[in-house]
Structure formats: C-alpha cells, structure tokens
Amino acid sequence: MTATMAARHGPRFWWASYRAMLRFDLINLRSIIVSTFVVQLLLGAGMAYIYGFYLGKLSAPAATFMVTGIPALAIIPIGMVMVPSTVMMLKFTDTYDYIWSLPPPRLVAAASTLTVFTFLAIPATVASLWIADVRYDVSLHMSLAVVPAMLLVSLMATSVGYALGHGVPDPRITNLITNLIIFFILLFSPLVIPLDYFPGWAAAGHQVLPFYHMAVVLRASLTEGIVENVTASYLVLTAWTVGSWAIAAAVIGRRH
C-alpha cells in the first residue's frame, strides 16, 4: 500500500477495506457498547416485567406467547434506534462527510456497519430471553432454526435502521421516527400479543410491516406447535432487508 499505489478495485481491495471499516466501526462503538446492552435489556427483559405489571396474573399459554416475543423486542432497539441514531450523530458532529471521503467503497462501509450491528444485538437478546424465561417459568423447545431466525431478524432490523438514518435528511425527524417506532411497538405490540386481539385493519397492517414477522420466526424456533407457517414471515423479512439495502444504496451512492 505504501510505495506503489495499491489497486482500488477487485475482491482483495474490497476485503481489505471491509476489514478496515469493521475495525473503524468497532472502535467507534466502544463508548456506547455498555449502554446499548443496558437499553436492550430494558426493552427486552424489562418489558417482560412491565407487561406483568399491567396485566397482573398471566395464564401459561399467554406467558409462553409473551416470553417468545421478547427476543424480537430486544433486537429492535439496536437495529431501529441505535443504528439510525449513530448515523444521526455522524451528521450532527459533521463526521458524516469525512467517512464518505475515506478510500473504501461506500457499499463496503455500509456492509461493515450492518455486520457490526447485526452481531452486536445478539448477546443482550439471548440474555433477555433467559431473564423472561426465568421470570415466567415457561418451557421452551429451542431448535437450530433459532440461528438463521435471529440473524435474519437482526440483519433486517439493522438494515431498516440504516436506510432510515441515511434516507431521512433531517436528523431530528429521524429521532422522532425512532421514538415513534419504539412507542408503537411497545404498545400495539404484535410481538407479545396474538394478532387476533387487534382490530382487522391493524392486523392486516402487521402482515405487511416487519415487526409481527420478527416475532413469528423467532417464536417458531423456540416453541413447538404454536406457530404454523413461517415461510411467509421469512419472505416478508427478506423483502424488508433487501428493500432497505436498495434505499440505502441509492442514498449513499449519490455524490454531494
């Protein structure tokens, strides 16, 4: 790289840039890594307790349904809040343009951010599930499907958050949208409440939105006999992931 100019294309350059950007992203993250873990626990395990405060005593099936919705709930604050607010902070502190001026291809930088946050979300998600399980004492049947389910759900959430952070020009609006997402997900939670409880139009909306499907694929991997069909849910989640990539690519590929 030093004396002769290295070629700035080809798979080897991409791979080297990807690793460099991973390092860059990880170093940038070190100050927020503890707080993200705490926030995830609050929204995951914390919500398991809160639903109990609101509802009083729960029946065994209701408790199982609720506990298996908790991992999806714990993933949302990383992908849909932390990721857009990280982008927002870059805009506030004017490092946004700096990052795009770095030599790595922009899509490599994006891939690195998506990778880091997808994996960052996992530990607290598992911890939340464990805490909720202990609190309500439900019996789970975990299968290997939990691995692809968790990775896809986390990647989808991170991708949507990334598209949101880059696609919305005013960071204050981004902030508002992330607050609204959290609020509506916690309240009108299709993650921990069966869809039949919702009015028809809301249930229909949740067939299109990603949130309900996040819970479905995770619940299917944690239980037996509660979830019948996961194919549609996997498809919807994949569509949201790819759609977000398209939006993000369009925005960050544009030059100022």
Binding site: V39, L43, Y49, Y51, G52, Y54, L55, G56, L187, I193
Partner: protein, 261 residues
C-alpha cells in the same frame, strides 16, 4: 420605553419586574420561534402518546377491568404531562448543546429565572393538548365516569412544573448531551413501565412500590387523578409535599449548574 434609551446608547436598566416580564416574553418568543418547525410535530407526538397508550394498552388486556381502566385513562393523561418535561425537554436542550446554540442562549442578557419560566410555559403549551385528547379518547374507549373538580388546575400546573424542572436540572447538570439523551429515554421507560401511573401500585413488587413513595411520578399521578376522579386517591397532602420538595431541589440543582457554567 427602552427604545429611546437604547437609541441614545444608554444602557437600559437590567432589573425589576418590567425587565423580567420583557425578557420572559422575548425568551418565550425565542423558544417558540426556534421550535416553529418542530412544535406542531411535538404536539402531535404528545397527542399520539396519550391516545395511543389508551388504545394500545387496551389491546393488551382484551377486556379491561374497570379499576384498571380508570387507572389507565387518568394515567395516560398524566404520562403526557410528565413526558414533555422529563423526555422532550432534555432532548431539546441536548440538541441545543450539540448544535452549539446552548452557550449562545445562556450568554443573552436575560435573567435565568425568566428563561426558565419561558421554558416551562412552552412545556405547558406542548403538554396540554395531549392530556385533553387522552382523556377524551379514554371516555370514548372505556365506560368510565370521570369526576372533574377544580383541583385539577393546580394539580396539572404543579405536575408540569415539577416534571419540567426535573428534566431541566438533568439537562443542565449533565455536561454530555448523549448521556442526557440516554437518561431521558430511560426516564420515559420508567414513567410508562415501572411507575404506578397507568396501573395500580399493588401490581408491582413491594420494594418498588415503596420506592415510588419518594420519587415524583406516583405523586404526579395522584394529584392529577384526584382532580379527575372521586375516591381512588388517598394521602393527597403527601403527594403535594413530595412534588414541592422535588421542584425546589431541581430548581436549586439547575441554578447551581448554570452558575458553574
């Protein structure tokens, strides 16, 4: 009256009630103008929070017992009042710090009490629509009887006042805006999830219920609920006392932080 003196280059008097009121009005105009794009949106968000909580939590219940419905209906109104001061306020101050307007605002020749009063007024403007809409939605959604008395006026005023001061103290005493932002989020979470505002305190573990006797949130809910209902609130004097102590404490903390600044 100031224009003549100002035109003559004479420094105007910077004390007295007249000066205070002038600067209060100027600061209020400054805050409202600064938020002119965000203000309607923030009000809408508050309205959505209040109304959304009632509709959303009712989905959780699938047939809500009447005592819970009464707690939830009045609680949602209280949450909208608290969140403006404790959540929206600190976030706005944090943004001022990030954008660098914070130092400018505090360098203005304005008494700090006037600036703080303007801020509280702005919070009332943002909070009230949310509260009213939340109550209306509750009346439509649930079959409940509210018993509104005049004591709701001082109760709402003290709740917004105290909440705003708590948020204000937090925003000014903590130098790092990111930390303030984080605490504001946790505060929102505590208010909605871990405070006996929307649900009766007996649903919580005993130690948490006792802790809330000293925190301001349950007291805020108590005073407002007492103004809206009949017979579910006891120990009202204690709640007013708790709120008064928190307000004075936060005022002192803010004053200390600003002096140091």
């Amino acid at each position: 009256m100031t224009s003549v003196a100002a035109a003559a280059g004479v420094p105007t008097k910077r004390s007295g009630v007249g000066h205070w009121l002038d600067t209060y009005r100027a600061m209020l105009r400054w805050e409202v103008t600064g938020m002119r794009l965000l203000l309607p949106l923030t009000v809408v968000v508050q309205v959505l929070i209040g109304a959304g909580m009632i509709v959303g939590i009712a989905v959780l219940f699938h047939g809500i017992p009447s005592r819970n419905a009464l707690f939830l209906s009045t609680g949602a109104a209280v949450v909208t009042l608290i969140t403006v001061g404790i959540v929206v306020g600190p976030q706005l101050v944090a943004q001022q710090k990030q954008m660098g307007t914070y130092d400018f605002v505090w360098s203005l020749p304005v008494p700090r009490s006037a600036a703080a009063s303007a801020w509280i007024t702005l919070n009332v403007l943002i909070a009230l629509p949310g509260m009213v809409v939340a109550l209306l939605v509750a009346l439509v959604r649930f079959d409940i009887d509210l018993d509104v008395s005049l004591s709701v006026v001082p109760a709402v005023a003290l709740t917004v006042f105290c909440g705003t001061l708590v948020g204000y103290a937090m925003a000014h005493a903590i130098p790092k805006p990111e930390v303030t932002d984080g605490i504001a989020q946790v505060a929102l979470f505590t208010v909605i999830g871990f405070s006996p505002i929307n649900f009766p305190p007996e649903n919580m573990p005993g130690w948490l219920a006792s802790l809330h006797r000293y925190l301001p949130f349950e007291s805020m809910a108590n005073v407002v609920r007492a103004g809206l209902t009949e017979g579910i609130v006891h120990d009202l004097a204690r709640s007013y006392a708790v709120l008064a102590i928190w307000s004075v404490g936060c005022m002192a903390l803010t004053a200390w932080a600003l002096r140091r600044h």
